[in-house]
């Protein structure tokens, strides 16, 4: 039950297990222990979960303090619900390796794209060229 009807508040989420997606793309899972008015979050028993394809790996991180502006979204995890059968958990080393490969592949395609465009005299506009603010 919300303390303030008509509003959204993190008060009710305290001490529950959450998944938070940060602006830099990291996914953290942990118990939300404390918040403040800027939605800075204190996570306890945090685990950073890396997803590559259908595999994922957990890196235990301990206590996290996340500055509120870096949060994209945050959601409660239902501990009672069964875990997803589709995703397969692997070891940390493996998932990091997979991630590295994924990054490499991405960079390659990006580079190829840019080269192709350049050959055709086009360019993907950067933010400072755009008209609108």
């Amino acid at each position: 039950m919300n303390y303030m009807p008509g509003t959204a508040s993190l008060i009710d989420d305290i001490d529950k297990k959450h998944l938070v997606l940060l602006r830099d793309g990291r996914t953290l899972i942990g118990f939300l222990r404390s918040i403040d008015q800027f939605a800075n979050l204190v996570f306890h028993q945090t685990v950073e979960r890396i997803h590559v394809g259908k595999k994922f790996g957990d890196i235990p991180r301990g206590i996290f303090i996340v500055r509120g502006e870096n949060v994209v979204l945050l959601g409660e995890i239902d501990v009672d619900k069964l875990c997803d059968n589709v995703l397969q958990q692997v070891s940390i080393e493996e998932i990091l390796e997979e991630q590295r490969l994924q990054q490499q592949a991405k960079q390659k395609t990006e580079k190829a794209k840019v080269t192709a465009l350049k050959d055709r005299g086009l360019s993907i506009p950067k933010a400072d060229n755009l008209d609108e603010y």
């Binding site: 303030m4 008509g6 001490d15 403040d36 008015q37």
Partner: protein, 704 residues
């Protein structure tokens, strides 16, 4: 003195020291039994103790302790008597607000347990712990989890509304907040809000030893004044060493140290050169634990401590349903089994309340229907529905509505603070602006030519943004005019709008360029076009005409540099302007379309370009249509000399151009165009023209 304390000391040593003795922590429910009256009594007792302690533990602990013994009300004395081996009470979650040291942290540590009834053992143990002379004061902080792991059992008795004396706590925190210097964590908005409510409170606290006898401000005052002396005496940096979990061997508990530790921005009117001005991380941590600043606009200093939340005047209370919800929630959480999270309730109820209040402050607005439209609308509809349903029924239940406490908003605050000696600006986070962007101060380049293209472009964009803000205000004023305003208000509003419009207009003109090219920089940017389009309705007719003529004269440039096709946004506004033109003005504008370069023999360059541009063509059509309208109407035209000739020439020229080149589809095709052409041209040309226009538009221009 010593002998009375030694047995106590010995026994104290044998006991597990705080915070390990979690089992001995008193509990609010079982051991407390404190009701409203009890608190009032305690208040008076507290007062006595305060004064007493103040005298006793003044500058010189050693000498004055001796005086305590004779005092029959000496809590120390009684303390010495009482064996510090209490029956094990249900352990208390450190976050429970009803743990009395919380409310009277500094002063209760020596109260005899029997007399006070709760929390004394904890306080007593605490006093023993902090016997280090380095310790200035101790205050109930947050025990470390390691030590309390096994001991913490969440009793869940976080009661928000009862069993607590919030006023003193609030005031003490308030006072601390008020005087903490240089704390970036301190929320200026809240402090300012508090300040606005209690302007005269501050200095009193620190000036006198016994500032108030019966006022609840006394506590904070005493504490504050008390703190000054030891503060001046002791090395302030030792405050930093103070953590609740630091083990300190107990010696003579009440002789060598003041068992209080005012952490977090100890206010000291006397400048202590060794005072660390910025709060250390440890202090800051403690600040946000038990000592977090509480917004106290809801409390008046003289409010009755028995009645917890009495809001002054227009302040609205939390909705009764809200309160019910909260108490229900507590009951529910209390009923939850204990065998769960040992780390839960790190956030105390007080802290949650604080955040909720902060959020409520943020929700306040003078214009809720504007700021919080969906909420207001939703509840309005819900209530209307309920009213319909329960018409005639008793006890119509109102849906839980959010009533925010009313707090006078600060009109201005400095979200960007300049600290002396700093190299730049510091953004202070407040609840109104959590992340304030510090504007990078652009190095102003005095010479226009030296600025590179990008810089110029950025300048133009920045200017347009600022003008847009003003334009939004203008439009808002326009909308408000529709509402019923008093005559005086309306006039004032009109004047303000006028000023703003003129401001925008003048700003759009670039000062350095020639008269003709003033608007160009802004107009070449698509957002500038939008701005102008929205501004046009507000401009005077002359100014609007000027804009129009400027647009038409620079049409080729505009059309060619209209990469994202944003010119058509100007069309509707310009069309309206055209609709109000006189014949002479029209002719003047039309000339721009037909001026040809001296060496070109092929008609005007402009016209050929116009045929390819939607906007240009539509503009041309609009002009011609206006001319036709004027001619065919009965209104006297008052033409200047040569107008009609120019008009005829123009028509011919345009017609020939239109019939020759492929046309694009215009934004709007006026219906009287062909009528116009029919009058002047031969059939063949008309036919050609018609087919051309029709092919462009895809429908019959005029039934032939």
């Amino acid at each position: 003195m010593t002998d009375s304390e030694q047995p106590e000391t010995e026994t104290a040593v044998s006991q597990p020291q705080w915070p390990e003795n979690g089992g001995q922590w008193s509990d609010e429910e079982g051991g407390a039994g404190m009701d409203e009256c009890g608190l009032a009594e305690m208040a008076e007792e507290d007062e006595e103790i305060d004064i007493y302690n103040n005298e006793t533990f003044g500058m010189d602990m050693d000498t004055e302790v001796g005086d305590t013994e004779g005092d029959p009300t000496n809590p120390l004395f009684k303390f010495g008597e009482k064996p510090p081996a209490p029956p094990a009470l249900p352990s208390l979650s450190p976050s429970s607000p009803s743990f009395s040291p919380r409310a009277r942290p500094q002063l209760r540590v020596q109260g005899p347990p029997g007399r006070r009834g709760r929390g004394q053992r904890g306080g007593q143990a605490m006093a023993q712990m902090f016997e280090d002379p380095a310790v200035v004061r101790t205050v109930e902080g947050r025990p470390s989890l390691q030590s309390l792991d096994s001991a913490i059992v969440d009793v869940g008795s976080v009661s928000y509304w009862d069993d607590l004396d919030p006023d003193a706590w609030m005031l003490s925190s308030y006072e601390r907040t008020r005087h903490a210097s240089g704390s970036v964590l301190q929320d200026p908005a809240i402090v300012c809000v508090m300040d606005s409510h209690a302007p005269g409170r501050g200095p009193n606290y620190l000036d006198s030893h016994y500032p108030f006898s019966n006022s609840s401000g006394r506590r904070g005052g005493l504490r504050g004044s008390y703190s000054n002396r030891p503060f001046g005496q002791r090395c302030p940096s030792q405050i930093n060493t103070m953590l609740p979990s630091s083990p300190i061997v107990s010696r003579r508990p009440f002789t060598t140290q003041q068992p209080y530790n005012q952490v977090g921005g100890l206010p000291s009117p006397r400048p202590c050169p060794s005072t660390p001005q910025p709060l250390t991380p440890k202090m800051m941590q403690l600040r946000f634990g038990a000592n977090s600043p509480r917004p106290s606009p809801f409390y008046s200093p003289s409010s009755n401590r028995v009645q917890r939340f009495r809001f002054p005047g227009p302040v609205t209370q939390l909705h009764p349903q809200h309160r019910r919800l909260l108490s229900q929630r507590q009951q529910r959480s209390q009923r939850k089994p204990d065998s769960w999270d040992p780390y839960c309730n790190l956030m105390s109820a007080k802290e949650k309340e604080w955040i909720i209040r902060l959020q409520m402050i943020q929700l306040q607005s003078e214009n809720p229907h504007l700021d919080d439209y969906y909420y207001q609308e939703y509840y309005r509809r819900m209530e209307a529905k309920l009213a319909e349903e329960e018409l005639g029924m008793r006890g119509k239940r109102e849906p839980p509505k959010l009533t925010t406490p009313y707090v006078t908003k600060m009109d201005s605050y400095t979200p960007v603070v300049h600290i002396e000696g700093s190299l730049g600006q510091v953004a202070v986070s407040t609840c109104f602006s959590p992340r304030r962007a510090i504007n990078a101060v652009a190095a102003h380049c005095p010479h226009e030519e030296l600025k590179d293209i990008r810089q110029q472009r950025l300048d133009v964009l920045k200017k347009i943004e600022k003008l847009f803000m003003v334009l939004l205000e203008v439009e808002e004023g326009q909308r408000m005019k529709a509402q019923v305003l008093g005559e005086g208000e309306e006039k004032g509003l009109m004047e303000k709008t006028e000023i703003k419009v003129e401001y925008i207009y003048s700003q759009l003109q670039h000062p350095d360029l020639e008269a003709e090219e003033e608007f160009l920089p802004c107009l070449l940017v698509s957002k500038g076009k939008q701005l102008l389009a929205r501004l046009l309705p507000f401009l005077s007719h002359d100014a609007a005409l000027k804009v129009l003529s400027m647009v038409t004269s620079h049409l080729p440039v505009l059309m060619s540099r209209d990469a994202d096709e944003s010119l058509p946004v100007l069309y509707p506004s310009l069309r309206i302007v055209i609709g109000g033109m006189t014949f002479s003005q029209l002719i003047g504008v039309l000339k721009d379309f037909t001026t040809s370069l001296p060496d070109s023999s092929d008609g005007s360059v402009c016209l050929s370009l116009v045929c390819q541009s939607k906007f240009g063509l539509s503009l041309l059509y609009a002009l011609l249509s206006q001319g036709e309208r004027l001619l065919s109407s009965d209104v006297p035209l008052e033409p200047s000399i040569g107008d009609f000739e120019t008009w005829t020439d123009t028509v011919f020229l345009v017609a020939s151009q239109l019939s020759q080149s492929a046309l694009v589809e215009p934004l709007l095709l006026p219906s009287n165009l062909l009528t116009l052409f029919c009058r002047y041209l031969d059939k063949r040309t008309i036919h050609q023209l018609k087919s051309n226009m029709e092919s462009a538009t895809g429908y019959l221009a005029l039934p032939s």
